[in-house]
């Protein structure tokens, strides 16, 4: 006869064991409850990814796939730029801009930073204002305001084209292209370029045969006439001195007389020098040396 094991039928104690009780209380404590509810599922979801990306090879592969996908999206025809249009630039500046940007079209608009391009264009000396934007139809449009050449600064070698305020525009070897610009020279002449512009504005063709202006001693200007005559202007208010010369010239035609140097440095005491025997030599000395 088969023995029946009665312990099998005995009812289990419904009470939780001490450990079970403590564990359930621990699980119900606020921090653990939150951890189990939020942190644990998050960890379980995240762990396969974390394990997968532990391997450098997998990481690189995934990065490659992501990068390919990114390129695929940004290189869609909708985002591509095919041409560059430049507005308001002379031909030489046009080529300069194209060279400095160095874009190989077609290029994606995602790869371009318009603000950077604008900075790049602005770094060119002849450019005063630049705007960059993308036009429909895949065109990168750059609008440029060029600085107007106003003065030609003669240097030891060649010339420098300056704007009315003395900003550098470009260097040229001969004044062939800019023969209409007035010539200035002297050490530090570019720093006083605005004064030179003001002087030239007052002269304004009323004095014929002005060869150029010389900046002397870092403070004042001389007007050199084609005849070799020199008009020394004062440091302060040279425009008034020119007015005086114009009046004198109108009344007395002094400029057409045989006088080498008109010294207007002290407006209250105008000095005239007659030419000596070595007239031309002295003048050339005076141009650079005397103040």
């Amino acid at each position: 006869m088969q023995q029946i094991n009665f312990s099998k039928f005995r009812k289990r104690d419904p009470a939780p064991s001490r450990f079970r009780y403590k564990f359930s209380r621990w699980m119900l404590s606020p921090l653990i409850k939150k951890a189990v509810l939020y942190a644990l599922p998050l960890f379980i979801i995240a762990s396969p990814f974390l394990i997968y990306f532990q391997d450098q090879k997998n990481k690189e592969q995934a990065q490659e796939i992501a990068f390919d996908l990114y390129r695929k999206i940004i290189e869609r025809p909708e985002f591509m730029l095919d041409a560059l249009s430049i507005e308001g630039a002379s031909d030489s500046l046009n080529t300069e801009i194209r060279n400095i940007l160095g874009l190989n079209f077609p290029v994606s608009s995602f790869d371009l930073n318009l603000a950077d391009l604008r900075e790049l264009v602005l770094s060119l000396p002849p450019v005063e204002i630049a705007e960059t934007h993308i036009k429909g139809g895949g065109i990168l449009h750059i609008k440029v305001n060029e600085k107007t050449p106003a003065l030609l600064l003669k240097k030891e070698m060649g010339f420098t084209v300056l704007s009315a305020h003395g900003d550098y525009i470009r260097s040229v070897s001969s004044r062939k292209d800019f023969s209409n610009l007035p010539v200035i020279t002297g050490v530090g002449a570019e720093t006083a370029a605005s004064q030179a512009t003001a002087i030239l504005k007052v002269i304004d063709k009323k004095l014929s045969q002005v060869r150029g202006l010389v900046f002397v001693g870092h403070r004042r200007w001389n007007i050199i006439m084609t005849s070799g005559q020199i008009i020394m202007l004062p440091e302060n208010n040279p425009e008034q001195a020119i007015q005086k010369i114009l009046i004198l010239d109108k009344a007395e035609q002094i400029l057409s007389r045989q006088i080498a140097v008109f010294d207007f440095r002290l407006p209250s005491r105008i000095t005239l020098r007659v030419p000596t025997a070595n007239y031309g030599q002295t003048n050339s000395e005076i141009i650079g040396v005397r103040n």
Partner: protein, 444 residues
């Protein structure tokens, strides 16, 4: 004495800490069942009506979020006889209540049903120094009560000021702020056996819980079963429990007497088991399904099948009439009620203006007990059901859970007891301050 004062104060502090956290458990360790409710407190009560009582009798400040009721183990006549068994039962109840509440609970308020409580009426009086009565004066007058000499193995469970008299005015419930010279107090003191309460405290500690208060189960079941008028005019609450019957008398909204009779529903079950020769579980089943105390003609014809599994067909297949069952149950219930009567007589219940008796507890569900109680206890007997508290499950709304509900009310609004007032320190009086002041004056 001082030690008890401090331990009770510590429990009060624990209770307020628990309320701050918002979750507290109440635990009724009875002879036949262990009940546990987890209460959640939500700040202040919402609304107080014009008569000073809010909705749900001012008990709307909390709600029940977890509840569990489990068979009690290791307890006889309201006292713990097997600590590990009781601990397990408490664990069972607490774990399932916590699971339902989905929150951990660290503080528990428990009630003690056994321990043969004994009531004392104390008096204390003193002269008031400052004319207006303040908290300190109340602490002093409570401290001035002459403590009766009770046995060394007893401990004070409740010490509630019941009545204050100021000069020749009596019946003051709160004399604070009133002007007078001579203040006297009547205090109700309840002592129970130290061992009972220590055993319970130990069991609760073993379950990693902090005891945040203890109450007499006579007191708490009356809290939930008596209505305000009954408490005011005088009433007795008789909680017919499984292992013990708890009696408490209320007058002027204060408990003035409490006692426990070590007889309860389990004795009836035992009688049935012996009388019908069936196992206790079957006897319990027959008692609850077919029990009664009033035999009528129809009961002779209502037959009850008794099934047991001894293997003896003659014994297992018996049929008795319901009047037989009533014949077994009625003498025992009569005996219990007579004990109650004797106890009430001892307490002088007859002198109260109103003699309402409210029956509650599991054994009060026996059909016909009301008319039986009428014969023994007097005409003003009614069956009490505990009042509703917020979100209490339906299964807990019966008279079996009167103690549990009352304990919840006790947890929410405990009555001011002796230890809620701090008496003036004898050592550090105004004199020493003035002495320091004088020292400064002399030396500077």
């Amino acid at each position: 004495m001082i030690e008890l004062y401090h331990s009770q104060r510590a429990m009060r502090a624990m209770r307020s800490a628990a309320l701050q956290r918002g979750v507290i458990a109440v635990l009724d360790v009875g002879t036949s069942k262990i009940g546990c409710l987890i209460l959640k407190f939500e700040g202040a009560e919402n609304r107080i009506d014009g008569d000073g009582v809010g909705s749900l009798a001012g008990q709307s400040g909390f709600q029940v979020i977890g509840s569990a009721l489990t068979k009690s183990r290791g307890i006889e006549y309201g006292e713990i006889v097997s600590m590990p068994e009781t601990e397990r039962a408490i664990r069972t109840a607490l774990q399932s209540a916590q699971k339902m509440a989905n929150s951990r609970v660290d503080h528990v308020i428990a009630c003690v049903s056994g321990g043969s409580p004994r009531s004392y009426g104390l008096e204390g009086d003193m002269d008031i120094k400052s004319e207006i009565v303040d908290d300190k004066d109340i602490g002093d007058v409570l401290g001035a009560c002459i403590i009766p000499s009770y046995e060394i193995d007893r401990e004070i469970l409740h010490a509630q000021p019941v009545n204050f008299s100021l000069d020749h005015r009596t019946g003051l419930s709160d004399p604070r702020g009133q002007i007078g010279k001579h203040l006297s107090v009547d205090m109700h003191l309840l002592t129970i056996k130290e061992k009972t309460i220590q055993d319970l405290a130990y069991c609760i500690k073993r379950c990693d819980l902090e005891l945040a208060g203890v109450a007499s189960s006579s007191y708490v079941s009356a809290l939930s079963s008596l209505v305000e008028d009954e408490k005011e005019l005088g009433a007795a609450c008789v909680d017919l429990g499984g292992g013990s019957t708890n009696i408490s008398i209320f007058w002027k909204k204060h408990m003035i007497f409490a006692e426990t009779i070590k007889m309860g529903g389990e004795l009836v079950t035992r009688d049935i088991s012996m009388g019908l020769q069936v196992p206790l579980s079957a006897a319990e089943r027959i008692k609850t399904r077919n029990g009664g105390v009033l035999a009528t003609g129809i009961d002779d014809r209502e037959m009850i099948e008794i099934s047991s599994e001894t293997g003896d067909w003659e014994l297992d297949r018996r049929i008795i009439s319901r009047s037989d069952l009533i014949g077994i149950m009625r003498p025992r219930i009569e005996e219990i009620l007579e004990e109650v009567r004797a106890s009430l007589d001892n307490a002088g219940f007859d002198d109260l203006p109103s003699q309402k008796i409210v029956l509650t507890g599991g054994a009060s569900q026996v059909p016909g007990i009301e008319s039986l109680a009428n014969k023994i206890l007097g005409q003003q007997v009614r069956l009490g059901r505990p009042m509703r508290i917020h979100r209490l499950p339906q299964a807990y709304s019966g008279p079996t859970c009167a103690g549990l509900v009352g304990l919840s009310l006790f947890a929410a609004h405990p009555q001011d007891e002796w230890w809620d007032f701090s008496p003036r320190s004898k050592n550090f009086s105004g004199q020493s301050v003035s002495r320091v002041f004088r020292w400064f004056k002399d030396n500077w």
